[in-house]
Point group: C3
């Protein structure tokens, strides 16, 4: 068990819950980036654990099933020496008529210190967070994806990955200022895109959204209201990619076809799929991100996914553990 790098203890942190990035401050983004950098360093050691949250209980309440995100949070918690409980649906009391709040309160009463919550309905993590506050529990809630609302830890790991690409010594939010970032794909159904829009706009980046009109309604313009000219919507791919520094592709769920939102996967790929040819109009050093799981050959060609000069996909996953350690650490020790 190695000691915690002293740098980790420094930044102040007052936010008990992480539900949405809509009102995150630059200072908060930079605290997370700095703390994640310290944990990234811990993860490169032979003994990858710190005793920071020893004896604390982190409960993963994943009402919506997930493997990769739950594994990432579970590993982050173990690296911090916390104990973890996993609630999964299927075997659950929910099918027995229990309310979501009662499930959360049960895990609270068992001794949970932090809850990581995923639910297919937007607003559930926020509702539980409010209840935890109302009861003066001191328990923090981390939104691990709620419906079409937000998935803040994914956007934060994307941010960390982007900033580390620009300056691996000192990843700071401001590094992205004036960089052009294209977000391509099923934006309408993506909580990842919504969280990323907040963090990227906060950085001063220019955010270009590209999707068929059925997957990118004009109401998305509202996100850019406070940053005139920084958020641009496109219903074709080319103008979004032109001179882009980074391209973020989003997962396209097969069921969008049956909902008459798209003619076919092949047609989608023909119009919005990222290929090596199409990247030629981006900046020469363009990098590609994808939150996974990927449909190779649909959102992006297989060769690009595997090209270490272009794809940041593996680094995103690695960043995920460090960023989630940072979040759990800051939330778990911030008030003591």
């Amino acid at each position: 068990m190695t000691s915690i790098p002293s740098a980790i203890a420094t930044p102040p942190w007052t936010r008990r819950h992480v539900i949405s990035l809509a009102d995150f401050t630059s200072a908060e983004y930079n605290t997370i980036l700095q703390t994640a950098l310290s944990f990234q360093e811990v993860l490169s050691r032979r003994t990858k654990k710190v005793p920071a949250l020893q004896g604390q209980v982190i409960t993963n309440l994943f009402f919506e099933p997930s493997t990769r995100t739950r594994s990432s949070f579970e590993l982050a918690a173990k690296r911090l020496s916390a104990d973890t409980l996993n609630f999964a649906p299927g075997n659950s009391s929910l099918t027995k008529g229990e309310t979501i709040l009662d499930t959360a309160k049960t895990y609270l009463a068992m001794g949970t210190n932090l809850m990581v919550i995923r639910h297919r309905q937007a607003g559930v993590p926020s509702m539980i967070a409010q209840e935890m506050d109302r009861l003066n529990t001191g328990v923090g809630v981390l939104n691990a994806g709620d419906g079409l609302h937000e998935h803040p830890s994914q956007a934060l790991l994307d941010l960390f990955t982007l900033c580390m690409t620009l300056n691996p010594e000192e990843p700071r939010l401001e590094l992205l200022d004036s960089h052009k970032i294209a977000i391509v794909g099923d934006i309408l159904h993506s909580r990842v895109a919504r969280s990323n829009i907040w963090s990227l706009l906060a950085s001063g980046a220019e955010v270009h959204l590209a999707a068929p009109s059925t997957l990118l309604p004009t109401l998305f313009e509202v996100y850019g209201r406070d940053r005139p000219g920084k958020l641009v919507l496109h219903h074709e791919l080319t103008p979004a990619l032109e001179n882009a520094d980074f391209v973020m592709t989003l997962r396209l769920q097969q069921e969008r076809m049956t909902q008459n939102l798209l003619p076919s996967l092949r047609e989608y790929h023909r119009q919005f799929g990222i290929t090596r040819d199409r990247l030629h109009i981006c900046k020469p050093q363009v990098k590609l991100l994808h939150p996974g799981p990927t449909n190779r050959g649909v959102e992006v060609t297989s060769d690009l996914m595997d090209d270490p000069e272009i794809s940041l996909v593996s680094r995103q996953v690695t960043s995920g553990v460090a960023v989630r350690m940072a979040l759990l650490y800051l939330m778990g020790t911030g008030e003591e």
Copy 2:
């Protein structure tokens, strides 16, 4: 890792298995209450672990799916520094034709020291316990709910919760002597009720059962044979609640309707649901218990569940971890 409070080591314990409370002695109840009190104190510290069962393997054999009980046992085991294995059906060899005993023996051969067993068939934990003894394994079996038979750890956490309400400094069985406790609901199908009847009668309390006659056959009188006048059956709610010190409600499973045991949930609630009005005939300081998960508005109104002056539901869950730590600790160290 904090040291074990010296008080924990004191009480003698000779019972290898905990299957039923039918023959528990007052000394055994008090040993559990005293040990749970020590662990409750451990759980209030910042570092909530003791090294008591380090290196031991506790296997949760939950043939019947469960989330809250399994999580409670899992957390109790982790707090004692034991390693845990979870066997869950679905992915199981049972669907491949293996017998229950062979499954248990497989986990025995892997090195299991204690087995926590839930099965929808009454008698399975007892059968496995007998086999463990026959083979001279020294392995203890804890019944975590078997069919309609018993659920001793639930009744023990209820007992701990009740006694702590009466004297949080020194919870003892005798505190409940002559108190009136009403158990209301689907008693016929409740292993929780059966275990509670044993422990409450042992305490000297007056136990009043109330349910529609379809859910409370007169054969339940047999439980009170050795304690004349201490167990009373009612087929209406009012006499059970009159001057009661505590009201225990039981979960009503929806499938009872389709089995023609009840006309409707609304009708059940009208006759046996616990409401604030109805509690007025109880003692002024009456407290309410429910083993969860709760159907709010059926067994009990939502406002009562959330009233911290009346509801002990959260404390029951918290007590569950301390009581299960006590059971695992006593069973795991009792003979050495």
Copy 3:
């Protein structure tokens, strides 16, 4: 936490992946047997843990569901103080269109040091191992069963069990030389049989296969090409059992009936089921093995399974933890 017996550190080990036993050397078999013996000794202590793999992440990628094998690997990993991640299908991204390699690479990127992989398709662990090498990850892959190909850790625990029966002080491969071992049952569909054929032939044992012709095609003779006379196929039971030192029975999956490979379970048992009577033609000290889960009364009678003079089934399970600790230990520390 006890220290690692010095004996464990001795043997050299250079194999990064364990996919198949086809090319295992005698030295490798003996290193595993010797290391497993040391860990068996650790497992008999009160504190059964060694800090050998502290901070390392072992990921169980069980694309095909399994309970007993996964539990055995999980316990082995915990005994070595590694952290474990479990990937299980059902809740998986695979149903979302992700490729197997992308799933593996995701767990790689999270920080996995060793992967234990089960898949119903032969070749998957090998494919992932090749990718791990191509990417210079240093990550080892252990095949925990791939389709009809191999299940090396099962064969190695069988080997350890056999050798320990012959010499519990010093289990060595050469002990089996010239012993007769009958493998009886559904050999065609058994990856366990295939791995066992390699290890037993390597030991110099005489391996007799017995099954109905539908479950034992003559192409199995190819396994004995390099060991003339050492591998014998039988389509009836008696000649296989005659003077056998050990009888290994294999699990018969019920679905073989519906595939028209067998007339009925009763008919199979009548012809190839192992009974006490039939063992009389074996050596007097004959021992019985079965990889489990067992269909009692089909592959073998219930009384034989439970006869401690004859059945090695429980010892196989116990050996499994020690042998898997040895494999994970050798693979996890071999190159540093």
